[in-house]
């Protein structure tokens, strides 16, 4: 019954128009504005569930396609559609936005309507990024998304927010503009911006390498990979809780999504050429950044570094496939690795979001993010401590949580490529457990550290609701990730078959 609805357009423009409505309502009636924003985000989330319900898991083709001409002179079209890699990320986006809006309830004191509107508008733009099948449409959403995030960090952020937000903006802008040049080059070769047609464009290796590097600049900054990750700790630390959550849970995934949508299929030969470099960078992220996380004094910074380390698994899963194929000669292992990377992205969205929310809960009460200002929180906030325990375990990859599935699959499949890759990647099981649980121990356990901690009140029902939603997600995908695998499998299988065909002299 819902199949005729232009669901993707609704998912994009609904929140954007809703955001404008919230802005227009203004700060005068705070409660109304909050309820309005919450309603909009919940409706959007329910709509995105329809995507899942009606999703055909047997095909790799674009689904829910919408097409209309936009700029006919240059063959730029409003062309939307999703496949198995976009669908889970869209649902992740709408889900996290509901929680972020709920989390803002009593926390944001100034310009609440603008805050909520910024998140709603950003939700629409992110859905746009995930559902664009036209490169220029993609680029417009991709860049426009920076504007609300820039304002969120800059207006509602911490003491060094201005530095952090300008760094964030310039860093990501730097990456993206070269991607634009790459798109323009592809257009001059093919006369189209349709991503699916670009996938089949023949390119010689030299051009592919340059395009790959341009794409790499855009996506590696976003995901972020070592050594272009330095904006992330700053942005995370200074952003308000909601901003950190969206940044970690969704914005980072855009980089991974970009690799799957553009780098691999458009420049497969260059991807193969650069695959060892990508694997090395991923391993550096996993191991080196893991050590960096270990020594952090600031909880948000620690989680930020842990995000970089975990996203290293996603990139490792995306690029290790070539070696797996070379070693085993079967595509199955490589597709499995790709799936592992995708699962890691989705699961990391839940876990990192949850951890940032946990830090937010403590920060509202104590107004400090330093680990040394805490200790013995479990004595005053037992329920909270239980939730955080689960998320900390998930972050360190405990079986039964979603954090385990992605990491395990990637390690397992990279073992087929090379023992040492798998060995280094597996170090994360030690490192991740070390930095997460050590932080948990210092913050939660022990004697009550100071008066602030002694006066803490346990989480209220709103916070408990947010955290339990995430806890359910983490556990469900930890125990039963099957549906996620099923949804992605045809798309990723087709993707890998596609990238194994050389495009040189096609």
């Amino acid at each position: 019954m819902f199949t005729e609805l232009p669901i993707l357009s609704l998912l994009i423009w609904g929140p954007i128009l809703g955001g404008i409505w919230v802005l227009y309502a203004g700060d005068r009636q705070e409660e109304t504005v909050k309820t309005l924003a919450l309603m909009i985000s919940v409706v959007t989330f329910l709509l995105s569930i329809l995507l899942y319900k009606n999703f055909d898991i047997t095909t790799h083709e674009m689904q829910f396609v919408e097409f209309s001409y936009w700029i006919e002179t240059f063959n730029i079209n409003y062309y939307l559609g999703i496949d198995g890699i976009a669908m889970p990320l869209i649902i992740l986006t709408t889900f996290m936005t509901v929680l972020v809006i709920l989390a803002a309830w009593e926390v944001i004191e100034k310009r609440i309507s603008q805050y909520l509107a910024a998140f709603l508008i950003m939700e629409g733009l992110m859905n746009g990024v995930f559902s664009s099948v036209d490169a220029i449409l993609f680029y417009v959403f991709w860049e426009a998304m920076l504007i609300p995030m820039f304002l969120i960090i800059g207006i509602w952020g911490g003491p060094k927010r201005v530095y952090a937000t300008i760094k964030f903006f310039l860093y990501t802008f730097l990456g993206s503009v070269f991607m634009l040049v790459a798109f323009l080059y592809l257009y001059s070769q093919s006369g189209t911006f349709n991503i699916l047609e670009l996938h089949n464009l023949s390119l010689d290796l030299g051009a592919q390498k340059l395009i790959f590097i341009a794409f790499f600049l855009a996506f590696a900054v976003k995901i972020p990979m070592w050594p272009v990750h330095t904006w992330l700790p700053d942005a995370h630390v200074e952003a308000p809780t909601g901003g950190s959550v969206i940044l970690a849970a969704i914005m980072l995934k855009l980089g991974g999504y970009g690799f799957l949508r553009f780098s691999l299929p458009i420049t497969p030969d260059a991807s193969m050429y650069f695959d060892s470099a990508m694997i090395v960078l991923s391993l550096i992220a996993i191991v080196y950044i893991g050590f960096v996380a270990l020594v952090q004094q600031d909880m948000k910074k620690l989680i930020a570094y842990s995000s970089i380390s975990h996203m290293g698994f996603a990139t490792l899963g995306f690029f290790v496939g070539f070696s797996i194929y070379a070693a085993t000669g079967s595509t199955e292992g490589a597709v499995f690795a790709l799936e592992g990377g995708m699962i890691q992205m989705v699961s990391h969205g839940f876990i990192s979001g949850a951890l940032f929310l946990c830090v937010g809960v403590m920060y509202e009460r104590v107004h400090s993010r330093e680990i040394k200002d805490y200790g013995g929180v479990v004595n005053t906030m037992p329920h909270f401590a239980a939730f955080m325990m689960l998320f900390a375990m998930a972050n360190s990859g405990l079986p039964g949580t979603s954090g385990f599935v992605g990491e395990f699959v990637v390690i397992l499949s990279s073992y087929q490529a090379n023992f040492w890759i798998a060995f280094l990647a597996a170090l994360t099981l030690i490192l991740g457990a070390a930095y997460t649980l050590w932080m948990y121990k210092r913050v939660i356990f022990g004697d009550v550290a100071n008066d602030n901690i002694a006066e803490l009140k346990d989480i209220n029902s709103r916070e408990a609701f947010i955290l339990s939603m995430l806890a359910i997600a983490v556990l469900i995908f930890g125990v039963y990730p099957g549906p996620l695998f099923d949804a992605m499998h045809p798309t990723l299988e087709h993707l890998f078959e596609h990238i194994m065909q050389s495009k040189v002299g096609l």
Partner: protein, 479 residues
Amino acid sequence: MLTITETMTCAPEIFMLTMASLILVVDTFSNDPSRKLTYTLSQLTLILTAVLVIQLSPEQTVYAFGNSYINDGMATVLKTGVFTIGFFAFLYSHEHLKEHGWLKGEYFVLGLFAILGEMILISAYSLLTVYLGLELLSLSLYAMVAMHKKSTAASEAAMKYFVLGAMASGMLLYGMSMIYGVTGSLELATIATNIESDASNILLVFGLVFILVGIAFKLGAVPFHMWVPDVYQGSPTCVTLFIASAPKLAAFAMAIRLLVDGLHPLVSDWQGMLVILSLLSMALGNIVAISQTNIKRMLAYSAIAHIGFLLLGLLSGTPSGYAGSMFYVITYALMSMGAFAMVILLGRKDFEADKLEHFKGLAERSPWFAFIMLILMFSMAGVPPFLGFWAKWFVLKELVDAGFVWLAAAAVFFSIIGAYYYIRVIKLMYFDKADSMTALKASKQMRFALSINGLALLILGLMPGALLAICISVMTTAT
């Protein structure tokens, strides 16, 4: 013999001239300190001339006065742009001059003459008419800059503008004389054919260099940009607004007429020169703008950088590349007009708010105007979905199509540097605390005009198709 058809080709110009002279006379008899009548008549003139231009726009290119005057699609579009921008500029200026008590009827008369000069320049098709239009435009602008007699800064700016401008005109004339010497003609079309047969003549390249210097000066491209910051800063803001918007359209038209219509056979020569001008402009404009504390000066350097970008489209040497530049110049004029209007708006009586710090906390004082400025700044930085993005996109696309991928990469690199000082303005407005919490006072017209100006950038940014198609169609059929 002058025929009716020939006269009709320039009927809008004749109408404009008549009205400007009439307004000059009417104004002498006016005692009204707010110059309502003069202002209304000037605006009416602009509207009527715009209607005339659109009504008389020819389906095919029309030449008149022995091929020294041309009326084509590009002329129609650019002239319409000039009138639209002139209309807004007069509206903003009227408020500004009234507030500061500098209002004189001459401002509007000079403005109309400047616009007349722009019209002639846009339609010029011989070296002589180019020069005629250019001088009419420049002399009016020199006088406008100097209008506020008591300000030393304005006098200095006028002096600088005049001396340097006269020098540039001299250069241009010198170059023209060489071209004339070789080709024996003043008409651009004849020049183009005659050059074909004698393309290796070294004198032609000499002439081209001098002509290019003249064009670069009028556009404000590095290294002929020295006047831009001083004139922008020294002039009363409404005059800066006037100089920074519509004349760029005319200067662009001049570049097209001279380089493309007249000297196209020398394309391989001027292409290289434009590459250097453009790279230098983007580099210097963007880097120096970072260190400015005066917003007018910052916008001046940003103008230099934008001109560098505009030249990229020209140097691609294809009709669609020229269309890209045309789109860019129209977009730029819209953005720069809005930005200077914001500076006008921030000022009060006897106080020009031209420091960057005056923008502090604007988001809390006047959220709506801060939002408009946010649109303007992101648009100038080239962030989608605003119109400024499409302007950059179009030029870059033509550049890549013409094979200059490395130049496109350099251009986007400089635009990242540029993004820094634009977002700094947004930082001041949104992230900093205001010194005072009084909301900006703005008349209804000003509020309305500025809102349209800003929202146009957003709406055209979402739906750029029509404007892009117009630019493409007039440029590809004309040349």
